[in-house]
Symmetry: C2
Subunit: 103 residues, 2 copies
DNA sequence: CAACTATATGAACCCATGTTCATATAATAC
DNA sequence: GTATTATATGAACATGGGTTCATATAGTTG
């Protein structure tokens, strides 16, 4: 196929780098269990067992997901005695605010 | 564990229904090949072989992804002779505009 | 100290889905 | 008609990652 130049209006390869990291982020937040966790943390700080009750899934699973979200800089934790309280970071808030605008 | 009522500030189960459909959408657009396609279509209408050249993947794969995006109402197609031109729908534009705000 | 609770984590399992392959369809050119 | 090009699609494959299981760690209570 040869229909002349249109590369002027198509992203260059280097712009796809942003696409790659955006894809990584969207895969993280797109998973349903993690999205539910974000939805809960949007309401404020909560410990693991509170989240566990409300999305009705195992403690282990939630800990795994929280770890992933933490490593991505979306949430942070604060240990108080036995409990570990998680909340959204600034980045986490910005992104979830954007996502939940989608209708 | 019993630390009293906090359900007032946690989403009810029915609110997770939105989470479910949002998750479906984010999984769709979060996949890197599809995200690249959306990135290209943001620039305007393009046929399959144009997209194929620019993201350097097989025709078959791109057709599959375009079908998925079409079924989700993100893109529409217009056949002209041999070529099939795809573009973003209104919904597709709104969503990609939001997504590419994420930094 | 032992018993219990909350949380973390590595390994294994299993399934969804992205990708490839082969082929079909449809439009064009000759 | 045949040949070629652009696109679509079903089936098979293969890999990633969500989930579970078992266990470890750490704090609390008595």
């Amino acid at each position: 196929m040869n229909m002349g130049s249109y590369s002027c209006c198509i992203p260059d390869k280097h712009e796809f780098k942003h696409v790659s990291s955006l894809s990584t982020l969207l895969k993280l937040v797109g998973e349903e269990s993690r999205l539910k966790i974000l939805c809960i943390l949007k309401q404020g700080q909560h410990c693991v067992c509170e989240i566990e009750e409300h999305i009705n899934q195992s403690q282990s699973l939630i800990s795994h997901h929280l770890k992933d979200l933490k490593e991505a800089g979306m949430v942070l934790d604060e240990k108080k005695g036995l409990y570990n309280y998680y909340s959204l970071t600034k980045k986490g808030k910005e992104i979830t605010d954007l996502l939940f605008q989608i209708k």
